[in-house]
């Protein structure tokens, strides 16, 4: 997938930006608070319908305006698509694809991988960060996951309300739990498959980025309930989770909240057979994070047949010189399109690269340098 051109109107400080990016590497240079991240955010909203920085569309609208508008044409699977997103606080958000109303899960939508400094805490940070990473990836890899996730969040909330109202012995609660477990297991199956795929992809990438040859990086999905029988499939997971909920019913009633399910699960990361969270050095943890992001690109490529667009926000300055160099080399020889923001540009790093360089200042993007 390649973005051919895009426009942003009244999107944060981008009052009117039009850009025809390079199909390869795009570097956006500028001081802080000039709008570099906003540009990547606009591309992320164009692809996924929502921002990686906020859940509120209202804050994306420029203070002086009532609505924002984004549009783009991009190329995917030898076809050209036009997409447009308009948001207005009063009428809400309308997404179109080739002129027709659509939703963010449409299979022909633009796909992106976003890499921000926060992602460098993927290893050390809380489980919710890793769950977000998985969910963001799975939503883009298939149209159904986002739909199942929305439903899971709804039924989880409903189940928790019933627990708060001490209704755990009603038929309504029993049936809600049945539906809750089925939704939960749909997510668990998809996540296990994805983690297994990432596990295969991430090893060689880690060696490229870290320069370490020894040992390996392993990923395992950690389920929040014991599995009764050996085989991992929908039915076994469903029965196991139902049984587990039976055994923890008293605790759930006491805590008035659902204590098992995808909202409490995690990815375990092992480096040389030790949990990376405790045993990997900070440098190794950052290499793992970079490798996970590259594995995310490849996972989407496997699911969609083409690489997504890679958005890197200010990550270079967080890496040491060697890792910077290895990541840049990787990006420059890659066949996917990337957008990278940075405050400082060391020209020699791109001496004979084909990267296109732009400058962002006061919400205005100026052409190639």
């Amino acid at each position: 997938m390649k973005v051919i051109d895009y426009r942003a109107t009244n999107f944060r400080n981008l009052l009117c930006v039009e850009h025809q990016p390079s199909p390869a590497m795009n570097i956006i240079v500028g001081d802080n608070a000039q709008g570099k991240t906003n540009l990547l955010e606009a591309l992320c909203v164009l692809a996924t319908g929502s921002s990686f920085r906020t859940n509120s569309d209202r804050v994306l609208v420029n203070d002086q305006a009532e609505a924002y508008e984004l549009s783009s044409s991009y190329e995917y699977d030898q076809r050209c698509f036009e997409t447009n997103i308009k948001y207005n606080a009063r009428t809400g958000k309308v997404i179109t694809l080739n002129g027709r109303k659509t939703n963010p899960h449409h299979p022909d939508r633009l796909r992106v991988v976003v890499f921000t400094p926060d992602d460098l805490y993927l290893v050390k940070g809380s489980p919710s960060r890793r769950r977000f990473f998985l969910d963001f990836l799975l939503k883009q890899a298939g149209a159904e996951y986002g739909y199942h996730l929305d439903n899971y969040v709804k039924i989880l909330r409903k189940r928790n309300v019933l627990l708060k109202k001490n209704q755990a012995n009603t038929k309504t609660f029993k049936l809600t739990t049945e539906v809750f477990v089925e939704q939960a297991v749909r997510l668990v199956v998809a996540r296990i498959q994805m983690v297994n795929l990432l596990d295969q992809l991430v090893g060689p990438l880690y060696q490229d980025i870290s320069g370490e040859n020894l040992g390996g990086l392993k990923l395992r999905y950690a389920i929040s309930f014991p599995l009764d029988s050996g085989k991992i499939n929908f039915e076994n997971l469903r029965i196991s989770m139902l049984n587990h909920l039976d055994t923890i019913k008293e605790q759930e009633c006491a805590r008035k909240s659902s204590l098992s399910g995808p909202h409490r699960e995690d990815i375990n990361i092992y480096l040389n057979n030790h949990p990376a969270r405790q045993f990997a050095s900070q440098g190794q943890q950052r290499s793992i994070a970079v490798s996970l992001k590259l594995a995310e690109l490849m996972a989407i490529q496997q699911a969609k047949g083409e690489f997504p667009v890679f958005l890197l926000d200010e990550v270079l300055s967080e890496l040491d010189k060697e890792r910077q160099q290895r990541l840049l080399e990787y990006l420059q020889k890659a066949s996917f399109q990337s957008f990278l923001t940075t405050v400082n540009l060391e020209k020699n790093q791109f001496a004979d690269s084909q990267a296109s360089i732009y400058r962002m200042s006061g919400g205005k993007l100026s052409g190639k340098e």
Partner: protein
């Protein structure tokens, strides 16, 4: 400038309607004031009449001005197949597909979100029909969302002791979509392809 109180009141009343925002409410109010008085009265009277004369049918729950409603009184209808819908608007959509069974409308904006207990749904007329022995099949035409899923299971459980086949609309409905907005062809296909619960 302060709005004339009666005008302000009219705008506030219109604002209570779904899909009407402040600007639309104001435009409608001003439009009504420019109408000939007789037409404005007709609108007001239509609201009062509909409100006074239309109520849920005591046997099927469809909104009607004669009780029992025309569908319940229609002898030609197939009495062995009963379609359960959430609202009368769903019945109108399903009628357009040529379905000729009978209906049961729940008429209730239940939200499990509020910790709603399904045992509090008023379902006695439905239980009476199920135990009458006339019904062979109950089609659940509920919205294909999470609430519809839980409710379907609840209703299927109710029907179990009465040896009634329970089916629900199958594929064809837009994912996460409301039945009311499904077009006729999708809905007809969904009716044809219904599945056992």
């Amino acid at each position: 400038m302060r709005l004339a109180r009666p005008l302000e009141n009219l705008i506030n009343q219109l604002l209570k309607l779904p899909t009407i925002g402040p600007k639309t409410a104001q435009r409608l109010a001003l439009y009504i004031l420019k109408l000939p008085e007789s037409e404005a009265r007709q609108i007001a009277q239509a609201i009062i009449d509909a409100r006074e004369k239309v109520a849920p049918c005591s046997s099927c729950g469809c909104l009607t001005d004669v009780d029992p409603c025309a569908i319940c009184e229609d002898e030609e209808r197939e009495g062995h197949i009963l379609c359960v819908a959430e609202e009368t608007s769903d019945v109108i959509a399903i009628e357009r597909t040529g379905f000729r069974g009978r209906y049961y409308v729940l008429n209730k904006n239940f939200h499990l979100m509020d910790g709603f207990n399904l045992d509090d749904l008023h379902l006695q007329p439905l239980l009476d029909q199920l135990s009458s022995g006339k019904i062979q099949e109950m089609v659940l035409a509920l919205n294909p969302d999470i609430d519809g899923e839980v409710l379907s299971r609840y209703l299927a459980d109710l029907a179990k002791p009465h040896q009634v086949r329970v089916t629900r609309l199958a594929h064809g409905l837009p994912v996460g979509g409301d039945i009311e907005f499904a077009d006729e062809i999708t809905l007809r296909r969904a009716l044809e392809g219904r599945n056992d619960v």
